[in-house]
């Protein structure tokens, strides 16, 4: 009788103790930080085609020499047709070409700037990534 009672009391006491202990469970979730550097794939583009300009011959036709040019053209067996420009028209054509040349130079400048920026940035990114890797390594070392 006594033994049974003792067993019951001890059993109940243990059960109560275990249950009350569960209520004091307090967990702190560990913070998980992950850093992963990304490698940017390299863009390789073909070079542009080189220009080879075709021959263009200008002929100035005036009142004095137009007959000479007409006859020469006829003698060469070519149809007599001249694509004419006035003085202002010629000047404008020259200026248009100058504008296009400037535009090409500006585009080249922009491409060079992009190239310089991205090459330099890549170096900065690489060094930052190395730093991050180093930090990750340090963290792992401490956690372990």
């Amino acid at each position: 009788m006594v033994k049974s009672l003792t067993r019951n009391v001890l059993g109940c006491g243990l059960a109560i103790l275990l249950l009350s202990s569960c209520s004091s469970f307090q967990t702190v979730d560990p913070v998980v930080i992950s850093t992963k550097p990304l490698d940017r794939p390299e863009l390789i583009l073909p070079p542009t085609d080189q220009l080879t300009m075709r021959d263009v011959e200008w002929v100035i036709i005036t009142e004095e020499n137009y007959e000479y040019h007409v006859n020469t053209t006829k003698a060469e067996g070519r149809p007599v047709a001249f694509f004419a420009l006035t003085g202002d028209g010629y000047a404008n054509l020259g200026l248009n070409f100058s504008d296009i040349r400037a535009y090409v130079q500006q585009q080249k400048t922009i491409i060079a700037a992009y190239e310089a920026y991205y090459k330099d940035s890549e170096e900065v990114i690489n060094s930052a990534n190395d730093q991050l890797k180093e930090l990750d390594g340090k963290k792992l070392g401490i956690s372990e």
């Binding site: 006594v2 003792t6 080189q50 005036t62 020259g94």
Partner: protein, 155 residues
């Protein structure tokens, strides 16, 4: 009998207290360990953020530098582009062509060849012996002297 119960209760209470104390100690130690690890990780995160900020700062400095360079280059190109316009401004080409037909014809044909050559050079064409041996920009190409490799002329 009562004594036995009292003893059991006392033993139970003491055991409970000891167990609770041990449990509390273990839990606290585990929490301290986790918090220490978290703190280390957070310190690392701060360092990472600082590294990223520094990298961004360097990028912005590069952007400013490249932008400045491009603006200067554009100003130079615009100035070069005005050279022909300035040259033609005070010139009556038609009148000159009437009065000096052969020489103007020669000049515009040479100018056309030179201007075309400027485009070829800009497209990456290799320089000719004559161009390589040029002593100055004008000797290199009168239409685009600034493309001369030893260029210091901006106009």
């Amino acid at each position: 009998m009562l004594k036995i119960y009292a003893l059991l209760i006392v033993v139970g209470l003491v055991g409970g207290v000891v167990y609770a104390g041990k449990y509390y100690y273990d839990t606290t130690q585990a929490q301290i360990t986790t918090l220490t690890e978290n703190n280390t990780k957070l310190e690392g995160a701060v360092e990472t953020a600082e590294a990223a900020t520094e990298s961004l700062k360097q990028d912005y400095a590069k952007i400013a530098k490249e932008l400045n360079k491009v603006n200067n280059e554009f100003a130079r190109i615009r100035k070069q582009n005005n050279v022909l316009a300035d040259k033609l401004k005070d010139m009556d080409l038609a009148l000159l062509a009437v009065n000096k037909t052969p020489s103007i014809e020669r000049a515009i044909n040479t100018g056309t060849v030179n201007a075309g050559r400027c485009f070829e050079i800009l497209s990456g064409s290799e320089l000719t012996e004559k161009e390589l041996g040029a002593k100055n920009g004008k000797e290199f190409n009168k239409e685009c002297p600034w493309l001369w490799p030893g260029n210091t002329i901006t106009e």
